[in-house]
């Protein structure tokens, strides 16, 4: 059975919510009453349930099977955390209630901050950013604010070629010129490359660590020192923080600012693409510039400083959004942290790294793994040289993996290797699950080498849809449903 759109199956006169009949009091709309009801067909509750349950069954989630999207950290989402986030004492709080009525919520934010600071060794944390890229923006603004406060006008940000696209986009958004840094042959950034690129114009280096090739930047301490010596700041992209929880504190590496994706490392659900949460940790040099609202303790009670320039936020960089941040995600992340504890978090990182190395070691003979002379961190990178001459592409392999019952890995990222396949198994997989996945990939690799083209070119064969025409979608975009002319608007 195919599932129509709500605009096709719904009807204007149907309503799945029972509401009392309005009394129709004297209207105070000043003549701005809507002339025409919006064209929004309704569904009764049973119809709506069925519609969305059916849609859900066309999706793949972590609970459906291994979800090896590299750099996305698709780990187990404990349902305890969902339950905690829904406690009325958290979910049913208005952000502007008197602070005396939200002391438990503020205490939760403080506990979350303490966890993040202990794990990173940093001086301060700003909780408001709503996602990783928003955290990057906050961190880079803090850097710009710091330069301004010191009267420095610097214009350039250095970004390695392997970086996430958000890094250059963020730097450019706030007016920086982006300069790309190449990697050395082993996939990491050489301190000499950084030194050569540094100049009095350079405001910051943005470096992902572990990087998007799944490697730990082993010169990072020297790099940080060079950056600092040049009067610049060191921004670390924390997307891959999951690999190093409890193994190293980024403060000890010389980092000045790093965002943390709570939806990756701390397992708040990805939700089909959000909501995320991207708190930023800051070094002593940047801490004064943290945005408002800021959490402070006054006379034994917690309160929020909500205006820049107010006492406690004299140098604040400004405000990143309307309220205090993603409270729902804070609850989930703290529940994850408390559940794991210091010991469990370190174990999680170790298991994630072990799993990635295990996958790499188990596939190295059939696939081609660049940079394999270094230990992988929590993801295993392959390129497409093993497919040379087969007529099969990385994309074909990804789609064929769907037919094996798996979500594909990240493909064509990072850009620095050709036809990249980036596999992040996370710590949530059992060895049996990893072995099955490895087996499926080995089987596919052998089929590719044996020339079984049909298995790849037409894939997926066993998904709710065959391969979709993305070119057509982009060429003549259809971005909303439009009522066919034959149907009078109801």
């Amino acid at each position: 059975l195919e599932e129509g759109l709500i605009f096709e199956i719904g009807r204007a006169e149907v309503c799945g919510v029972d509401l009392p009949v309005p009394e129709g009091r004297s209207e105070r709309l000043g003549g701005l009453r809507r002339a025409e009801a919006p064209d929004l067909p309704g569904l009764s509750e049973p119809e709506a349930m069925r519609h969305y349950v059916r849609l859900s069954r066309m999706n793949y989630g972590i609970d459906s099977g291994l979800f090896p999207l590299g750099s996305c950290t698709m780990k187990h989402n404990p349902r305890l955390n969902e339950k905690m986030a829904r406690l009325a004492g958290f979910a049913d709080l208005h952000p502007l209630q008197p602070v005396s009525t939200v002391q438990g919520a503020l205490e939760l934010m403080r506990q979350l901050s303490r966890q993040l600071l202990a794990l990173t060794g940093m001086a301060a944390v700003a909780l408001p950013p709503k996602a990783g890229a928003h955290g990057e923006l906050t961190g880079m603004m803090a850097i710009k604010a710091a330069h301004r406060a010191h009267g420095r006008n610097r214009t350039v940000v250095l970004v390695p070629e392997s970086a996430h696209g958000t890094n250059p986009a963020t730097a450019a958004l706030i007016g920086y010129e982006v300069r790309a840094l190449p990697a050395r042959p082993d996939g990491t950034v050489d301190v000499e490359t950084v030194r050569a690129a540094l100049s009095p114009d350079v405001a910051a280096l943005m470096l992902t660590n572990p990087n998007t090739c799944g490697l730990f930047e082993r010169d990072i301490v020297e790099i940080a020192a060079a950056v600092h010596a040049a009067g610049a700041y060191f921004y670390c992209d924390g997307a891959n923080f999951n690999a190093i929880l409890g193994k190293v504190r980024v403060a000890d590496l010389g980092v000045d600012a790093m965002h943390i994706n709570l939806h990756k490392t701390f397992s708040t659900p990805h939700g089909g693409g959000g909501p995320g949460a991207g708190p930023v940790v800051l070094s002593p040099a940047l801490a004064p510039f943290a945005p408002v609202p800021a959490l402070v303790e006054q006379d034994g009670a917690l309160t929020l400083v909500e205006t820049e320039g107010a006492p406690g936020a004299e140098q604040a960089l400004g405000r990143m959004s309307a309220f205090h941040g993603q409270m729902g995600m804070f609850v989930r992340a703290l529940a994850w942290m408390l559940s794991h504890g210091a010991d469990g978090m370190r174990q999680a990182s170790e298991d994630a790294v072990l799993a990635a190395n295990y996958v790499r070691a188990s596939l190295m003979d059939l696939l081609s793994a660049p940079f394999a002379e270094r230990p992988a961190m929590h993801e295993a990178l392959f390129d497409d040289s093993w497919l040379a001459g087969t007529g099969i592409t990385t994309l074909d392999v990804a789609k064929a993996l769907i037919d094996e019952g798996y979500h594909p890995m990240t493909v064509y990222f990072p850009l620095v290797v050709h036809g990249a396949m980036l596999i992040e198994p996370t710590e949530s997989e059992s060895k049996a699950s990893l072995d099955l996945f490895i087996g499926a990939l080995r089987d596919l690799a052998m089929a590719a080498k044996a020339g079984d083209m049909a298995r790849f070119l037409g894939a997926p064969h066993y998904a709710p849809r065959r391969r979709l025409d993305e070119t057509r979608a982009a060429r003549a975009p259809m971005l909303r449903w439009v009522r066919p002319p034959s149907q009078a608007a109801e």
């Binding site: 919510v17 809507r34 905690m84 659900p269 230990p375 789609k399 849809r465 982009a474």
Partner: protein, 451 residues
């Protein structure tokens, strides 16, 4: 540890395959002297029940909105969300999936995003909407950046009665992007002279309606003036339910409509996560930030959906992207869409009317309290009262009596000299008893304060 499936034996076997003696060998690239030798100074692992108890105790230290008469708004509204909405968004396949990069096994997500986009467009009266933003305030900031791109000007004009937090969010981004913001002062009785401030250096005029004080703003003359000056009208809606009763910005000439979608499907959540709405005209679609789901066909010709126009986005365009946003508010958008699907146009209209009725009743009751003046002639479900005492003080006193009375304007804009103003909202879940209790307690409190 209950979340970690590997046993010591598993780890040993895996290490053997990898060919290292111990897991620390895999962390050998961590520079000497920085690798942690001790655990972080944090508590050790706890069982589910211990964690549940600890967090439940924290939760119990807050005054949940639903436990008392409650009248706060100012950009976040308490509505009833049907139980089916929260059930559906917790389906594993929605909750634990990711951005639909592989459309063949993500049609569920892609189709609801397409439905969401269509609903937002219909609601706002616009031609096209994206697949959601972080929240209303960041959507507003993105709208300004987009207006700069479209007009190639770099100065935004903000109406005086824009929510101060939205204004601060726009100003912050603009400051770092080296753009200019001209923000008019707040005008509790309505920002009547906005049109006079529009000139041809301005990329956009940002107007909120209902504005932060609750006034409904006629956008048509503003749109005309803006267009005449070559500028765009950016309309801001912080209460999505208002669109069920009020003429949509699209019908009034807005070029970009941004909004906060929390009211539909989403809880108050102490400020987040929420869901930003972003809609515009079709001709500007390639300047629009954020993800977009589009319709296409599969290899067998069946309709399907994909993420599209991603050449605008940062993972392709890097520093030339239209925005740095990659995560949106997928699950909150799903909640919005399910709630709106259940309501349909009939339910939404009725819901909006119930909100308006509740606010009208509350306004009448509060107007009857000695010393209280209702500032508004027009409003939707929120209005402003002028009190004979500092609003923040009154709110604190009423909180101590178990009534959450509203948002003092001074909380949003301290030092603006408007400390006597209180923003008060009523929705369909505000009962007549709640409203009566509020009026009575306010009368008593004011009598005590002004004695």
């Amino acid at each position: 540890m209950r979340y970690l499936p590997l046993t010591p034996e598993d780890r040993a076997e895996m290490l053997a395959r990898v060919g290292v003696p111990a897991v620390d060998a895999l962390f050998a690239d961590i520079p000497a002297g920085t690798a942690m030798t001790a655990l972080p100074d944090l508590p050790l692992a706890q069982g589910e029940w211990e964690v549940e108890r600890a967090l439940s105790r924290l939760a119990a230290r807050n005054m949940a909105a639903g436990s008392v008469p409650f009248f706060l708004g100012a950009g976040a509204y308490r509505h009833h969300v049907p139980a089916s909405v929260d059930h559906l968004i917790q389906r594993s396949e929605f909750l634990t999936s990711y951005t639909p990069y592989q459309p063949e096994i993500a049609q569920g997500t892609l189709q609801y995003l397409f439905e969401f986009q269509t609903q937002v467009a219909a609601l706002t009266g616009m031609e096209v909407a994206n697949a959601s933003m972080y929240d209303g305030s960041t959507a507003a900031a993105e709208a300004v950046l987009m207006a700069h791109r479209v007009t190639k000007r770099r100065k935004a004009l903000l109406a005086g009665n824009l929510h101060p937090h939205y204004r601060a969010t726009i100003e912050t981004v603009s400051r770092y992007a080296q753009d200019t913001v001209a923000a008019r002062p707040a005008q509790p009785d309505g920002d009547a002279d906005l049109i006079g401030a529009i000139d041809d250096t301005v990329s956009c005029v940002v107007v909120q309606s209902p504005d932060v004080f609750g006034h409904l703003v006629d956008l048509k003359p503003i749109a005309e003036a803006a267009h005449k000056a070559g500028a765009l009208l950016v309309a801001v809606v912080t209460e999505a339910v208002s669109l069920g009763l009020i003429e949509p910005p699209g019908a009034q000439g807005a070029d970009i409509v941004v909004g906060e979608g929390q009211s539909l499907g989403n809880a108050l959540n102490f400020g987040g996560p929420y869901v930003g709405l972003f809609a515009t005209r079709l001709k500007y679609v390639r300047q629009m930030p954020g993800r977009l789901a589009g319709e296409t066909v599969d290899a067998e010709g069946r309709r399907g959906f994909v993420l599209t126009l991603s050449t605008r986005e940062q993972h392709i365009r890097r520093e030339k992207a239209t925005s740095n946003i990659c995560t949106n508010s997928g699950l909150c958008a799903l909640a919005f869409t399910i709630h709106l699907t259940l309501l349909g146009q009939r339910g939404l209209t009725r819901l909006a009317q119930l909100n308006h009725d509740a606010a009208c009743d509350l306004a009448d009751r509060l107007a009857g309290v000695p010393g209280v003046e209702v500032v508004n002639a027009t409003f939707f479900n929120e209005f402003t009262v002028r009190l004979p005492a500092p609003a923040a003080r009154v709110v604190d006193l009423l909180a101590a009596r178990g009534i959450l009375a509203g948002v003092p304007y001074s909380r949003l804009a301290p030092g603006a000299g408007l400390d006597d103003l209180l923003l008060v909202a009523a929705t369909e879940v505000t009962t007549p008893e709640d409203r009566a209790a509020y009026a009575a307690a306010l009368a008593e409190t004011l009598a005590e304060l002004c004695r």
